[in-house]
Symmetry: C2
Subunit: 377 residues, 2 copies
């Protein structure tokens, strides 16, 4: 937690629950990643946190943007970005939305299927397209399904097909899975992409771009490799598999750009036991799975939690749960969380590393609770 | 799907995704349940669907209301309900919210812990309180955790304690788990509550109310027992365990009241395969886990899906997924869903039995997508 955020909480005493994002940390993350990957272009994954202040800052720093929908494109344009720095990275788009994006000036589109390619040709003639391939997602903390991407033979077939269509086959993308801590996963994917590049080159398709996706982690309860380590591993891998014929490389950090910049403050609503001799206490917060902490699904993302009595050495294992009447609204039950015995109802706790995938996930008004409030400072 | 809803979709062609609720079905559900449980008072669980039209209708029919928060209490009051028909059924409440509810006239509060009881005494002096006990939730389709309720010995101790406080120990509640299809689960719980009543009576605490909770199911892909069967089982059970000394009984249907009254219309955004020889096709809709179908979490609730080409006998197994860039936004992958081979991009499909737990679950603007639009007709 930065001093700036601590001061904000102290001076403003905002209503809980709320998220506070320190823009200086976002700027530092951007600069660190730019230095670590000097040859790659950064496309910030807007979905991680689309706060206007974050988009404006990153635009000013020269970032490009990876978007998932027309409203996200409009937000990025409103932040002052030009359309040539916007990628429409969702492989699942309505044709009307592709057309709208094209009208707004966007010229870079993702696809992973024949139907999507045909939609792009019709609605965005002449645009650059890149094909997303499937990866295993091994080592990622946020589960990667088979939802996005196609296998290599199909990617090859589709890019060959694109050559004969009114679109420009421009590149290949992959995603190693969000919160990826295994650096070798990039190498595995890059090797496959390089093979595909050479194969297609031999068939007259000269691709210009490799999209390395996101996956850059944020520090939750355990350490993660620094940006520099990622940069080195990726650079080494690109050199090894592409030699001197390096394509343009782009990365799409979301969590890695804003995750550690945010802190949520929440109030303890209740502390109780289910029976006289229960080992674990239940600690209920005023934020839960439906108020912004959706990534606690299956206890995947484990946020660090600070209490005002952390100096107290006597702790007890707890179950952490949200405030709604939904029995699924439990944050951590299997994961061991210990909190001080002296923690009491009304105390404010701080949930760190919550800058990414929180505000936008929060439900409209489940159980009558308002969506997560957020401040960028 | 009712004729009224079908006509609405045809004539209005609303933008997808959207939910349409037929108020006639809600009225029928209310009347069926009232007839099935003539001696029980119905407290509609507002969290299932707080649409003003639904609240007004149920208020007009004479329903009482189970609420989870102050905003829900305010919505119910706005619908014309008097505070004597409102229960603040959440066992996890901020003291300030209890006070606010008390100021608004609410006199019935749930608790399951000593700390909550003390909050109620301070903030709502003299109010009626009921203690929620833990049940196993066996047989329920939507998982019931240990989040709510305490064990019987603790409930006994707390209700004895309440006798000596400035609150009125009024009853006991339980919940057999949402979408409960095993009728014997009510009997198991009612037997325990009756035992507790007799024990407390011997100690001078004369409880007046048993809150049978919700759990009444809605028909998804397979049949569920009719309201009459639930009524009969519960009535029989109450007679058996309480004899002629029947307490006031209340029920809190949510899903059972509005689930089958709603239909979501959604557009097919993309149909694809991940490789040339993949058995399953992927069908991507414009609504997913974060747009209102949160109950597909772990594929728990399995909605029936209608397509415009259901007459086509040739079907293929599909994976169903939502439109966001989130890899967790997959609706059904393990559950077998077969859809017609002739289904195509742009077709509108109808997701039935979606009147409960959809609109309010939808995310504020995840990936830039708007929350689920809803119409009550």
């Amino acid at each position: 937690m930065t001093e700036k955020i601590a001061r904000f909480f102290e001076e403003q005493r905002p209503q809980t629950p709320c998220l506070v994002v320190d823009l200086d940390v976002v700027e530092r993350n951007y600069n660190d990643l730019s230095e670590a990957l000097p040859d790659a272009r950064i496309y910030y994954a807007v979905k991680a946190n689309p706060a206007p202040e974050i988009l404006s800052l990153l635009n000013r720093l020269g970032s490009a943007f990876d978007t998932a929908s027309v409203p996200e494109i409009e937000m990025v344009l409103a932040a002052g970005c030009t359309p040539d720095r916007i990628s429409y990275g969702n492989t699942i788009k309505k044709e009307a939305d592709i057309r709208r994006a094209f009208e707004l000036g966007v010229r870079l589109f993702a696809f992973d299927s024949e139907a999507e390619l045909e939609k792009i040709e019709r609605a965005a003639p002449g645009a650059r397209v890149f094909c997303r391939i499937l990866t295993s997602g091994e080592g990622a903390e946020w589960p990667l399904s088979r939802k996005f991407g196609c296998d290599l033979p199909m990617a090859r077939e589709l890019l060959l097909k694109a050559r004969d269509m009114n679109v420009e086959p421009w590149g290949v993308s992959f995603h190693v899975g969000s919160q990826q801590k295994d650096l070798t996963q990039w190498d595995i994917a890059i090797a496959q992409v390089a093979m595909l590049f050479r194969d297609l080159e031999a068939h007259g398709v000269d691709l210009g771009m490799i999209n390395l996706g996101g996956g850059f982690p944020t520090r939750y309860r355990s350490d993660v490799p620094a940006s520099a380590a990622y940069g080195e591993a990726i650079f080494h891998s690109l050199r090894q598999h592409f030699g001197n014929h390096l394509p343009e490389a782009i990365v799409e950090p979301g969590r890695g750009m804003v995750g550690n910049a945010g802190v949520i403050e929440s109030e303890v609503v209740l502390i109780s036991r289910k029976s006289a001799n229960e080992r674990k206490r239940w600690v209920y917060l005023d934020i839960g799975k439906f108020g912004g902490l959706a990534e606690t699904m299956d206890e995947a993302i484990q946020y660090p939690i600070e209490t005002p009595v952390d100096h107290d050495e006597e702790t007890e294992p707890v179950v952490l749960a949200g405030p709604t009447c939904d029995s699924a609204d439990v944050l951590y039950e299997k994961t061991e969380y210990h909190l001080p015995l002296s923690l009491k109802v009304g105390d404010r706790v701080r949930i760190r590393a919550t800058g990414a995938y929180t505000t936008t996930y929060s439900a409209v008004c489940f159980n009558g609770f308002s969506p997560l409030q957020s401040y960028c400072i």
